[in-house]
């Protein structure tokens, strides 16, 4: 995936001013920056939802996991996870058969028939992630996927996301305002400036991923976090 000099404005408001990034297949790229720096606009561009006014975009099909999970309240966890397949033309039974093992893998056994309102925040995110994975697109765009979760749920959810991506590698664009989260999960961290967004720094996270993912207190993580925060100031 290659983006070069992408710029976009909404009316008078310049959201992006010349953003470039590259992601190799299977790479996790985190995009961090203050709120309103055009992070979500960048995801819209990659997903093909908006055509930028300037710049060059070369991206395979990308599927969006929006900020709030956007699970459909009238569908069960299983049917929400299988929504992408239904939209793709699969029958209800086929979609369920495909979604079932993935929900199990994400630790949601026994909750297949539960509606979103009765699921915890962390569970809802996992269902939304299952839906995103089952869309079968090579690129996943995750927009602040853990923004609404409390600290403990957040760290658990980060751990299973890392594990799930280990098993099913995809190219991931992860938008977050949390620098630590970016360093824990990504191979590359891109720091954007306040609006209009431009790239302040591109950091390579050359830290190994342990069995339980990276640890926030690891000196390498701490150093990169400081480096990213430094770039933002």
């Amino acid at each position: 995936m290659i983006l070069e000099g992408v710029a976009h404005a909404y009316g008078e408001v310049q959201a992006l001013a010349g953003v470039g990034l590259r992601a190799a297949p299977g790479e996790v790229v985190a995009i961090v920056g203050p709120s309103g720096c055009g992070k979500s606009t960048l995801l819209d561009v990659v997903c093909g939802l908006i055509t930028p006014q300037a710049g060059h975009v070369e991206a395979p099909r990308a599927v969006l996991m929006p900020q709030r999970d956007q699970l459909l309240p009238w569908l069960t966890a299983l049917d929400n996870a299988g929504l992408a397949l239904r939209v793709g033309g699969a029958s209800k039974a086929e979609a369920r058969a495909a979604a079932h093992p993935l929900l199990e893998e994400l630790g949601l056994s026994g909750f297949e028939r539960t509606r979103p309102a009765e699921l915890s925040g962390g569970m809802r995110q996992r269902v939304a992630f299952a839906r995103t994975l089952l869309a079968g697109a090579p690129v996943l765009c995750l927009d602040e996927p853990f923004g609404a979760l409390d600290a403990i749920t957040r760290s658990d959810t980060q751990a299973w996301l890392a594990a799930a991506l280990e098993r099913r590698p995809r190219t991931v664009l992860l938008v977050t305002h949390d620098v630590e989260e970016a360093v824990l999960l990504a191979d590359t961290v891109i720091v954007l400036s306040p609006r209009p967004g431009r790239v302040l720094a591109t950091l390579t996270v050359a830290l190994p991923r342990g069995a339980g993912g990276r640890v926030a207190t690891d000196p390498g993580v701490v150093a990169l976090r400081a480096q990213a925060l430094g770039a933002m100031r």
């Binding site: 819209d44 997903c47 093909g48 939802l49 990308a62 599927v63 969006l64 996991m65 929006p66 900020q67 709030r68 956007q70 459909l72 309240p73 009238w74 929504l83 992408a84 239904r86 939209v87 793709g88 509606r115 309102a117 869309a135 697109a137 765009c141």
Partner: protein
Amino acid sequence: MAALVIVVAFLGTWQLYTVVSGLDEFVLPAPTAVAGSLVDDRALLAENFAVTATEMLLGLLCALVLGIALTALLHLSGAARRGLYPLLVGTQVIPIVLIAPLLVTWFGFGVRPKLFIVALVCFFPIVVPTLDALGRIDPDRLKLLTTLGASRWQVLRFAEAPSALPALFTGTRLAVAIAAIAAVLAEYSGSEKGLGRLTLQSIPQLETARAYAAIVVLMAFTLALYAGLVALERRLLPWSATSPEGARSPS
């Protein structure tokens, strides 16, 4: 329970007033007289109720079919919305009491002019909330479906239509509440049978208690329909925020 207390207090006050005021029974019958008529005139009431209930139910059915079809059309076509919506609002201004006799001349004394009037009055409260709900899809949800590759039809089928179902139920409940008045108005301007007709006849015959009894029957039927809809909504849309357990039940 609260409703029961209020009804008992209301009936008690009414009964007391008829005794104290010394009003003639043909002006204001006591609740006991109305209850007496409910028993004595039960065959007559039942016969007329069957007619009015048919008018209401068939009229509501027409309103639902017409309302849903119109809502879909207005939602999917901006041109239809701009062109037709003002006309639909316009239909609600039609003074039904005045044009009903014309409809009777046109369609005859049978059930058809009644269906027309009930449907005319009842489709509007179905269309307005449902159309609003269809148009209120979360922009993020639309983005999600678009990246999943959903067509316009699939957006309607998977997201918009289900999310508008609670509003459709709300609209139908409003329609049920006014269907009885519409049916009675329709009978008023020309009919052979029906509770409206019976009420109209009973008053000059000084059978006021019977007129009130007819109203009580209509009320009970409307309440039953309304409660049935609430139960149906709770069963079909357990996820809906507008049908919390018992909170909206009229009982």
